[in-house]
């Protein structure tokens, strides 16, 4: 058969079939890519297989006396909340200043460089800094000035959160700066041309549009802070606290239990560290350890999927703006 529209078999073999070399090259490329996913899946499945038995409502919410992680879960969430309160205002405001207001100067470059270097400092160094600066200098002096006995000058939830806040500050600043920089200048021009003042442009146009991007950074920093052990190691983290570190806010008629940041606390990742390094009877503590890890990883995954969702939303807004 001689059809000019059909290719010769020899050409097909030459161009469309992979040679032996190409086949193996392709195999390695694909294998290394899929390997990441396989590893992730293997870790998750292994942990869930080993840890799912112990997980129950009782395990999640009861005190360590009853083999539960309720206090640790509470401590983790409380520390993350206080961390956010410290780090988000500072991080977001300084990013807004750097992107929207600061002139391109050497000082701005130095500040940007220090932010990037801050992100590279090992977390144990932050832990020691927290102990040295917050507890031994700031806390002690606060106690002397306020005459408050030993309230601030001891390792506590407050200082652990502050240390974690410094740790995640670069993440928040960098992601916020990226989000702000990706809002096109045409949007700012539109607002200026309508007679908006600088702060109105920032508040009403730039920030709302960048919000999902900023939120992505905040959520990622929470999941980062949740998994850290080293920074809280010296700062009031404990392995066994039978009761929640609460303080009652007395309002006369009734009292509201609030997080007490001056107390010691339990932390999920610290629990994992202690259980795996200092357990006396590993066989009996192993299920507890697995359960702990599963909860920690689940929390991190939930936060990361939220971050992915907001990143998707941010990209969609940008696409809309750029398409018009």
């Amino acid at each position: 058969m001689n059809n000019k529209y059909l290719l010769d078999d020899s050409i097909i073999n030459k161009t469309f079939k992979l040679s032996k070399q190409d086949f193996w090259g392709m195999f390695i490329i694909k294998f290394t890519t899929y390997l990441i996913f396989i590893l992730f899946l293997a870790i998750i499945l292994f942990l869930y297989y080993n840890g799912s038995e112990i997980i129950s409502r009782k395990f999640l919410f009861s005190s360590p006396i009853n083999n539960g992680i309720g206090v640790a879960l509470f401590g983790t969430i409380a520390v993350c909340i206080i961390m956010i309160i410290f780090s988000v205002p500072i991080g977001v405001i300084s990013a807004i200043y750097l992107v929207e207001y600061a002139e391109n100067s050497i000082l701005k470059k130095i500040i940007k460089m220090s932010i990037n270097n801050l992100a590279g400092v090992p977390s144990i160094v932050f832990g020691l800094f927290g102990l040295g600066f917050f507890v031994l200098i700031l806390g002690k002096n606060l106690d002397e000035v306020l005459n408050s006995g030993l309230l601030f000058g001891k390792p506590s939830m407050l200082w652990a959160s502050a240390t974690l806040a410094i740790l995640v500050l670069p993440t928040i600043i960098v992601t916020t700066m990226e989000a702000l920089e990706r809002i096109p200048d045409t949007q700012r021009e539109a607002a200026y041309a309508l007679g908006a003042e600088k702060w109105q442009v920032v508040k009403k146009v730039v920030l709302p549009q960048a919000a999902p991007g900023i939120l992505t950074g905040i959520i990622l920093s929470v999941s980062r802070g949740m998994g850290e052990v080293a920074p809280v190691l010296f700062l009031g983290c404990a392995f066994f606290i039978p009761n929640l570190p609460l303080a009652d806010l007395n309002l006369g008629l009734f009292s509201i239990p609030l997080i007490n940041p001056a107390e010691q606390f339990m932390f999920l990742s610290y629990n994992v560290f202690i259980l795996s390094t200092q357990s006396i009877d590993l066989r009996s503590s192993l299920p507890y350890l697995y359960g702990n890890v599963v909860i920690l990883i689940t929390l991190v995954m939930i936060f990361n999927s939220a971050a992915i969702y907001y990143r998707y939303k941010f990209r969609k807004t940008l696409q809309d703006i750029n398409r018009s």
């Binding site: 045409t186 949007q187 700012r188 021009e189 539109a190 607002a191 200026y192 041309a193 309508l194 007679g195 908006a196 003042e197 109105q200 009403k204 146009v205 709302p208 549009q209 807004t317 809309d320 703006i321 398409r323 018009s324």
Partner: protein, 252 residues
């Protein structure tokens, strides 16, 4: 009959070491459409953006000379730039609506002026949209995403959004250059309607468009004002050889 609205006197504009405009002097008349034409990079947009001081957002901008609007030198030190930009509104080449609902886009300018009353806001919106001939198309979809509108509708919505700020002068920077002929036609009709109420300055690349819509034409070339006259004069009997060459399409 015709009053001078914008008086430009010996204006030179620099961006860093680059000179964009050289010693421009011209009068723009009230309630007329003035087109600024010229080849790319001749300083049309720089001149336009000098009228509402939008150039100042660009680093290294410097202006010599004076621009008077209603006999006020707008480059004097005590000028309220924010208020100036409200009086001298601007529409850009690309529609730049905010990623909010159509309603929020239209209420942006009134709300930064401190108008919060709902009925007052609705009144302003309806007036602006009726003036810009888009009210019938959007009145049922004020809560919609503006990016679902066609490109022409988006540009007219931009003009409507501008009118909500209650300006005196409209600066249009190639408002129809990215649009199809039908949408362009609508914008041109709109400009014709709007000149009853506003002073309009249009930058355009399109010679036919300039001939159709404008009363006066300024021809810029390499930062110089080559010729400024009535449209009929420019198109029938230009005083300058360069103008003739440009409008007949021999260069540019």
């Amino acid at each position: 009959m015709k009053e001078t609205k914008i008086k430009i006197k010996n204006v030179s504009v620099y961006f860093g070491y680059l000179q964009a405009l050289n010693n421009i002097t011209l009068d723009i008349y009230d309630k007329r459409v003035t087109s600024i034409i010229g080849p790319s990079g001749c300083g049309k947009t720089s001149l336009l953006k000098s009228f509402n001081r939008m150039n100042e957002l660009i680093k290294g901008f410097k202006l010599k000379g004076q621009i008077f609007i209603d006999d006020t030198d707008i480059y004097k030190k005590n000028i309220d730039v924010i208020n100036l930009r409200k009086l001298v509104g601007m529409v850009f080449q690309q529609a730049n609506l905010f990623p909010k609902s159509i309603y929020e886009n239209l209420t942006f300018a009134p709300s930064i002026n401190g108008i919060k009353d709902k009925t007052r806001l609705n009144e302003i919106i309806e007036n602006a949209c009726t003036l810009s001939g888009i009210w019938d198309e959007i009145k049922d979809r004020l809560k919609d995403n503006p990016y679902n509108l066609s490109a022409g509708q988006q540009q007219r919505l931009c003009i409507a959004r501008l009118l909500t700020a209650d300006p005196d002068i409209l600066l249009l920077d190639e408002p129809a250059s990215a649009l199809d002929p039908i949408s362009t036609n609508k914008i041109e009709e709109l400009i014709y309607e709007l000149k009853k109420k506003y002073t309009i300055v249009v930058v355009t690349h399109n010679m036919q468009q300039a001939a159709r819509i404008s009363d006066y034409i300024a021809f810029l070339y390499m930062g110089q004002l080559i010729e400024y006259d009535k449209t009929s004069k420019i198109f029938t009997n230009p005083a300058n050889k360069q103008t003739e060459d440009y409008i007949t399409g021999r260069f540019g």
